[in-house]
Amino acid sequence: MTKRYKKIVLCVLIGILLIFTFSQYLGKSKENYRIKHAEDLNISDKTVTLCIRCDTILQHYSMLQENLQKETFVPQDGIILKDTTFVLFPGDTAFDLLQRATKRYGIQMEYRGSYTGKISGNYIEGINFLYEFSCGKDSGWMYMVNGDFPNYSCSQYPLKNKDKIVFAYTCERGKDLGIHYDRK
């Protein structure tokens, strides 16, 4: 490898990193405004409620990873974010709401985006350091709107006025949340 080639590669690496780090400040003023006024009910009369809970883990506590068995990661009542009313901005999806709420309350959240195929959308990997497969091989995050489980990504679900959204952690692929797969 020549010295010039090395320099070019290094420059490209640093450039990619810089672009990534500063990309968040570009065109985000609208979202920042929305995060700031997420609970300001004077703005509009359209509202939705969000709740994040992981109470199923409490029943399967021994299956949980050893280093996650602490109260900071799994609260005693199993509720990470209690029922909170948020303003519904136009064009909001369930994912937008979750991202706004986690940013506002300082809850850690990681997602993975997929842009290929018919089922494009964001997949929630973990909230509050509880990740998929942290509590057994059938565990992960699911969401329900008004008691129903939509069968597609939360970033594709447009919200309506007075929707009730719950993000819940499951340890048995949704069976402990009340989903029963019918065999036809």
Partner: protein
């Protein structure tokens, strides 16, 4: 390469030690053990190659760069955020995980390099020749057979062209007739060749049954001691590994196990890693004094 005392050991002893070092490096993510393994491999490498050894590890900076800069961009788990990319946090934990992962990669690479000095072709053939000999023969025959067939088909075609039959402007039925003729010639030639090879192999003693190959390795008493000692060490260490005494959690918060059992395991690990290098170093120092 200098002449080493360890290379006089029996190949089975050397192989046992090498596989244990590799397993011990690759299985654990405990930072202390990773550093011990790195130091052990580098000690031996310095004895073998001296200053030349360091030149091989210049490119390892790239491993560090990739693991510590790019890995955190794709894994955002961790309690302490440093920066953020696209709205997701880069955390100290994932950077540290990348650091120790690259140390694991580098130390296993170093061990492989050391092992390539220990086990040369002769020893490798001695170790695996008895298990895979017939399979190896079969493979080598197959690999030889295909290019040979292709070459022979070309020869047949040339002969046909020389006889005036292989002109380019032939009609389709004529082409098919010629192809059939050529391939039948090829098959009969190949069969003839296989008969020849079987006869020659038989006359050289293939298929008689118990045959031995010449080797110059002797399993001495020292080998017995080395083998027993290493197996005992590895079994004690492996017991602790199965019972999860050397677990290191990187996500979401750093959590290192450090009790008396872990320390005991680390001492045993260090003995395993440094035993050969230390004996080698002692011999090396002793020799130098003799000369001067």
């Amino acid at each position: 390469m200098k002449k080493l005392k360890w290379n006089q050991r029996h190949p089975i002893t050397i192989f046992l030690h090498a596989s244990m070092m590799l397993l011990g490096t690759m299985l654990t993510m405990h930072p202390v053990m990773l550093f011990l393994s790195l130091i052990g491999a580098f000690m031996y490498g310095m004895v073998i190659e001296g200053k030349k050894w360091w030149q091989q590890f210049r490119w390892c900076i790239w491993i560090f760069a990739i693991e510590m800069l790019f890995f955190p961009c794709f894994r955002h788990n961790g309690v302490t955020p440093i920066a953020s990319i696209g709205g997701q946090a880069i955390t100290l934990e994932s950077v540290l995980y990348g650091f120790f992962m690259s140390i694991l990669l580098i130390s296993s690479y170093a061990w492989f390099r050391v092992i390539s000095f220990w086990i040369d072709e002769e020893r490798l053939l001695y170790l695996f020749g008895s298990i895979w000999s017939s399979f190896g023969l079969l493979l080598s025959m197959i690999f030889r057979f295909l290019p040979m067939l292709r070459q022979r088909y070309r020869e047949i075609q040339e002969v046909q062209r020389g006889l005036g039959r292989g002109n380019k402007n032939l009609s389709l039925p004529e082409q098919i007739y010629l192809f059939g003729k050529n391939s039948s010639t090829l098959i009969s030639w190949a069969l003839e060749h296989t008969i020849e090879t079987t006869i020659s192999m038989e006359s050289r003693g293939y298929g008689i049954g118990k045959r031995t190959t010449f080797h110059r390795f002797v399993f001495r008493l020292q080998d017995v001691f080395w083998c027993i000692g290493m197996i005992a060490l590895e079994m004690i260490w492996g017991l602790g590994f199965i019972k999860r005494y050397y677990v290191m959690y990187y996500f979401p918060a750093l959590e290192m196990q450090w009790n008396s059992k872990t320390q005991f395991g680390i001492i045993i690990y260090a003995i395993g890693m440094f035993s050969v290098a230390v004996t080698e170093l002692c011999v090396f120092m002793f020799r130098k004094k003799e000369v001067s």
